[in-house]
Amino acid sequence: MNLPFLVSDKWYDIRDLGNLSGAILDQLDKVLPYGLVYVIAILIGFIASFLIFVLPTQLFLGVLGERKIIGRIQSRYGPNRVGPFGTLQPIADALKLIQKEALIPTAADRWVMLIAPIVFVAPAVLLFAVLPFGPNMVIADVPVSLIYFLAVSSLPVLGAFMAGWSANNKYSLYGAMRIVAMAISYEVPLVMSLLGVALLSSTLSLQGMVFWQKDVHLWMIFLQPIAFAVYFICVSAELNRTPADIAEAESEIVAGYLTEYSGMQWGLFYGMDIGYALAAAAFASTVFLGGWSMWGLEEYVPSWLIFAVKTQLFYLLFLWTRGTLPRLRIDQLMAFAWKFLLPLALLNLLIVATEKVIWTQEELGDGIVFLFAPINIVAAAVLVYAWAKVNGYRPENTPKKPRMVKDATGYIPASGGGR
């Protein structure tokens, strides 16, 4: 690929690690028999994306950051005993989990229960295959990588369902039912919100979206604020993050679908929850925050570093919501997905389609996006406020002083007279 902004594609140019791995693969292809180089490419891709990017960030920034930052949010210290400032706590936890026995109840469906963690973990690795870390740093540059991401991220629900069903425990079954219901409900507004993004950038490739945002010098979040908000809420619901973690709500149904799991089987579920959150953060920073591009900064700073920083900052948003927001009821969550998010996403799609038609029919230049951006931000604010008003989210639902829970039901019909 000839990229004008990339000063060189020499192997020692570590602004793009794709140069280095490409050079290695070119040399190996001359030596090795046909086809073997693909296997090595897969291995290099796996090491680069998973072992360098996911595992350390997940171990240290993921687990530790999660516990430390949420601890600070909730006025506690968090782990601070193992190692300096508790930095070795995740490793100690992992060792402890590996030592523990993985129990399987007698009445459980043994094989399904054993396979469930694997079904849950495998897609997390596959997700990182299409995320672009730099202009040349993408393992599989599929032309439909957006749909690939959506398809693969719908697979872990099956793993969670298998876990909940196989344990033969009523709390697990409740958790499984909730996670399936939530996944189906929140998948719809999520796809609708991403449809607007794909329509505006007229590509389904994640790499293409990054190039599009780089070319128009504007991130997608400014053009699609509704889509960003809808995506963030939907993905945190699908990932079982706290405002919506009803599938493993420990105050209601013990631990949901994880009730009967112990040892490293439970550890896999726990670790991969963070892995999926990281993948979702990486995806959001690719689609909405410009990916590896940073208004020209990528010429001086390695693009994968920009991408990693954006991902971690976005991940902080997940932590923030997890640490501060209380858990919602399942009927509130369902009503929110169908009555609030879906109409909003559809209206957003209407606005984007109109703008796209104006853009292409009038043959306007790229500069028009700087006109669309303020329009869309104002429209987003107006739409959210108006739709909340129509739905009956009244100011008395956000009181100044604490009230009884039964008074503060989330949904009050606009026609007056409570339920």
Partner: protein, 173 residues
């Protein structure tokens, strides 16, 4: 992408094995949930075939729709019907079913073998843009009809699950 060489051939036989074995599992499994899980593996195997034929979009649509939505819906139905997961006993319809499937397979193999397939050496896989243009120009009427059908099904489902209390509540307001 040419379908020659070791890689595609290996992928083809591997995918065939996965698809056929899991399809057999769907039939043989006595537990309904195990059958659905095998069905999901079959769907993923078929998606692999689409990728092998350079139809990435259809492969992804297969995974999104069949694995992500249809299979999950079937699982949901199993969850809400308490006796379905119980072991199903042997049925007397085994022999007729086998006969019927052998007959069907014979007809299909005969048709496939007998058809004069057109062959080409230069094949350009249609992109998503081509697919979208075809759907909204040549095939716009079937496309719109399908969307009307789905909307009707959606409204019908909502009407079916409404309780009499909700009906009365709506009649008042």
């Amino acid at each position: 992408m040419a379908l020659e060489g070791f890689g595609p051939a290996f992928a083809f036989w591997l995918l065939s094995a996965i698809t056929l074995i899991s399809a057999g599992g769907v039939m043989m499994a006595r537990n309904l949930l195990h059958a659905v899980l095998f069905l999901i593996v079959t769907f993923i195997g078929v998606a692999g075939f689409f990728i092998l034929l350079s139809a990435e979009f259809i492969a992804m649509a297969q995974v999104v729709i069949y694995v992500g939505a249809v299979a999950v819906l079937i699982l949901f139905a199993i969850l809400l019907t308490p006796r379905s997961a119980r072991d199903n006993s042997e049925t007397v319809w085994g022999a007729p079913a086998a006969l019927l499937s052998i007959a069907l397979a014979a007809v299909l193999i005969f048709v496939i073998h007998d058809t004069a397939w057109s062959e080409t050496n230069s094949f350009q896989a249609p992109s998503v843009e081509d697919l979208g243009r075809a759907l909204l120009s040549t095939w716009v009427l079937p496309f719109q009809l399908a969307s009307v059908l789905l909307t009707a099904a959606l409204i019908g489902a909502i009407m079916l699950v409404r309780s009499p209390e909700e009906e009365a509540e709506d009649a008042l307001s």
